[in-house]
Subunit: 206 residues, 2 copies
């Protein structure tokens, strides 16, 4: 049994969708950011970083989305969620997910979490102002240089798809009109047709 | 044959050391940041992101350190640089490397690269001011919650070791006294004894 600690609307959505796509036996625990539960001792015992996602396994606890996604894909090879037998293709997949994690997610975080990187309000406001431009540029880079279509890696759906979808759900709040990103917009529609995505969004909204 | 595009003192050092540890047949090409070569057409054809490292392989070009490190480890299994047969241990390794990439490297980047996230000088200065505190906190978190010893993952040297070493080399410039991080300081000394590390540092300095 796997247990995913998640918060609605966060990057944990990618892991949640992937558990569902894999057909894994799992349960979820919601961490309420509104009451700051991520920084309470009960959750810090799960993840000292005070972040979601955290995936509790029989072997221990995993954090960081790129690691969790590849782990699920490797544990459920029949689901075909990563090209696990092909080292180069796996590296391409990990490269995309690393970019989403370390560049795109970080661009986004400068809107709600600017206090991580500066203390004064004026600087935090200045960071927020640059988020629309950075997010648009990053997704345009993805459209131009990474996305193969119809799925991120080409003909085969992989764990990069729910991750890209999850981050694309932040575009509106980040001041980007998804109509300016036609490939990303089409990908989102394609994702919304998947039963696993529909189920996870319903759980998040319940 | 593999070709690593690198710049001295950057995170490309981790991939460079790993190629050396793996016994790979590789060559290196230095990208000169001082003359902004990373943003010239010749290099953007290699990596449209204008960043190092980039690893040119027979199958294509790979970017992003966590992806490159796992790829080298998987291609040279006899070197034993990652627990590639153990999905959970591999995920733990990828989790550490993802944290180094998306949190620690990003904390550091707010000193030399603040213009990525805000436009005005006052905000960029405010970001620089917070770097020592963030880097110290991040490395203390690594010491307390990640590092097993004597290597990052425990008794066995893995690709997390050159990555941690590479980022620890930035501490002084980031205003952190490594003597406040005894485990990290010991790890750095242990790394400096390795012939692969000595060779790579000599190449960078040449």
């Amino acid at each position: 049994m796997l247990t995913l600690y998640y918060t609605s609307g966060t990057c944990a959505r990618a892991s949640h969708i992937t558990l569902e796509e894999a057909g894994a036996d799992y349960e979820t625990v919601r961490v309420n950011f509104a009451t700051n539960d991520q920084n309470k001792p009960e959750f810090l015992a799960i993840n000292p970083k005070g972040r979601v996602p955290a995936l509790v396994t029989d072997r221990g606890i995993l954090t960081e989305t790129p690691a969790i996604l590849l782990y699920i894909a490797q544990c459920f090879p029949d689901a075909g969620l990563a090209p696990v037998e092909d080292h180069f293709a796996t590296a391409e997949l990990q490269s995309i997910n690393s970019y989403l994690c370390s560049t795109v997610h970080v661009f986004h975080a400068h809107r709600p979490r600017g206090s991580r990187w500066a203390d004064d309000e004026a600087s935090i406001d200045a960071m927020k102002k640059k988020v629309p431009e950075n997010m648009l540029n990053a997704f345009q880079h993805i459209e131009k240089n990474m996305f193969k279509g119809p799925w991120v890696m080409g003909d085969t759906y992989t764990v990069a798809d729910p991750y890209l979808f999850t981050l694309s759900c932040w575009l509106k709040g980040d001041g980007v009109n998804i109509d300016d990103l036609p490939t990303i917009a089409e990908h989102r529609e394609r994702m919304l047709e998947r039963p696993a995505v529909q189920k996870v969004l319903a759980v998040e909204e319940a």
